[in-house]
């Protein structure tokens, strides 16, 4: 093969590498989600719905429902509203033993004069507690539409896996409620409308 052909062949190979790395960049998105879930650091998948009787793998795994009375975990409840509504936990904290099921209610009220669709995402501190915090029932990741003035109460039912690292004895469960289709808020006093609002509920 002449020099020109050699060169062109190598160019094609390298171009494929470059394209492959671009796709790898996008592949990092699901890779990141999987690693977060595997290590229990962050649960990002919108598909997480821990409903009782759903045959969910997590539920099946936690057949060790032996309550470990030698340990007491303080679970703190935190709520963050990202919008014009009221959202708070009914209790600020509860003390449980690993393996013991507990329920806490969160209260939500739409104080606007229009209907709002919102959904909550959970977050845990410390991050390594997430993988051992089994929620039997939770309102996260579901979209809820509330009429003006409507009040709702939702339960979170959970069991802490006794395999939780011994060094953790306080867990903060935090929910942030976002309006569906909401974007990063515009910076206060900003001179430009930051991004165009594109339609259809995104």
């Amino acid at each position: 093969m002449g020099l020109r052909q050699n060169n062109l062949l190598m160019l094609r190979k390298l171009a494929v590498v470059a394209l492959g790395m671009f796709l790898f960049g996008y592949a990092l998105v699901p890779i990141y989600k999987h690693i977060c879930e595997m290590t229990g650091i962050n649960i990002l998948a919108l598909g997480e719905k821990e409903l009782p009787g759903s045959g969910n793998a997590r539920l099946a795994k936690s057949d060790n429902t032996q309550v470990d009375t030698s340990r007491t975990i303080t679970v703190e409840f935190d709520a963050n509203s990202r919008g014009p509504w009221q959202f708070k936990p009914a209790q600020s904290s509860v003390q449980v033993h690993p393996g013991e099921m507990a329920t806490v209610m969160y209260e939500f009220q739409n104080v606007q004069d229009r209907a709002i669709s919102a959904q909550a995402i959970p977050s845990y501190a410390p991050t390594e507690a997430a993988s051992h915090f089994n929620k039997m029932e939770c309102f996260c990741f579901n979209q809820y539409t509330l009429a003006p003035g409507e009040k709702k109460q939702w339960p979170v039912v959970f069991v802490i896996d006794p395999k939780l690292s011994k060094s953790v004895n306080t867990i903060t469960l935090s929910y942030t409620f976002f309006e569906v289709g909401s974007k990063t808020p515009v910076a206060p006093g900003s001179k430009v409308s930051a991004v165009s609002v594109s339609g259809e509920g995104v």
Binding site: E76, P84, S93, V111, P126, T170, T172, S174
Partner: protein, 387 residues
Amino acid sequence: MINLHTNLKTASIGLMALGATAAWAVNDLPGGPAVNQLNLHPPATLIAQEQVWLHWFMLIICTVIFVAVFGVMFYSIWKHRKSQGHKPASFHESARVEIAWTVVPFIIVILMALPATKAVVASKDTSNAELTIKATGYQWKWGYDYINGEGEGINFISSLDQQQRAMSDSGKPEPTDDYLLKVDNPLVVPVGKKIRIITTSNDVIHSFAINSFGIKQDAIPGFVRDTWFRAEYVGDFRGQCQELCGKEHAYMPIHVKVVSPEDYTAWVAEQNKKLAAKQDDPSKVWTLAELTARGSKVYEANCQACHQATGKAMGPIKGLDGAAVVLNADSSKQINVLLNGQNNLTMPAWRQLSDTDIAAVISFTKNNWSNKTGQIVQPADVLAARQ
């Protein structure tokens, strides 16, 4: 190092004498930066002490290696130059030498990593905290919520002192020891107790940091993170936001007051009384003079930064002077704006202010500048609107 320090100081003093238009004659701020500070802050927690020790450890080892290596280099520059008549040798490789100066640094690096590992593990251990406080980053202030432990339920916003912000704009701030580090409501914690800080954000990424405590934790919207500290002695400690968060990034400081357990209990009691007082206010009927006087203060602390002292429009920020929503005898729209925000929260919600404060500032806007409506809003009206 000492000579370098002295030379630098002399040089900078010289330059100051030459060129500076104002002598920045400030003092060291305890718990904050010292004038021309050269090293890390004096540690107020054991973790910070570990960090200071680790830094000295690294600095000394690196300096020793640096002096040794460049001693060799400068010796070579001096001795092995052509002008000295030195003829070049011909060696150009040696496997033994290469292995030696790969393995030895590798061992040094491992030795450095050992104490660092201990410190990392210790700083992440947030268990067994006696008090949990949530720090929420906003554009551009911090909100503190005491969510567990003594003082549970207390919450407030901590903003940069507005006069200092104005000083910055003036371009000629007066020498002030706590310049850009003074807030209206400092975070108060008891000494000697393990405090867990949960961070989150309302909008973009901020970062909560206090150098004296050796903590820094990013505040990420939609997620919580945690860190902890145990202050070893009482005092005032300062920090600043440590992640670019928009135009006022330099203007959202952190001030932590560490007090004795008794003082802390007293402070908690006082805060609870204030919170309770906020509940009591609605039954009281206020006069116009009382409301507008109080409203003026609320306006200065919260609204003035965007709506300006003149209340005039600026860019996308709506004017209040002469605004229809303010002049309207039906105050419910204005109350709603204050409670819930407007325009996708370009105008934020001010729900965290008390009913009395909201009533006062609305009454103030209705009776200031060219607005002379004579209308007032009572705290009870605001409370009703919250339901």
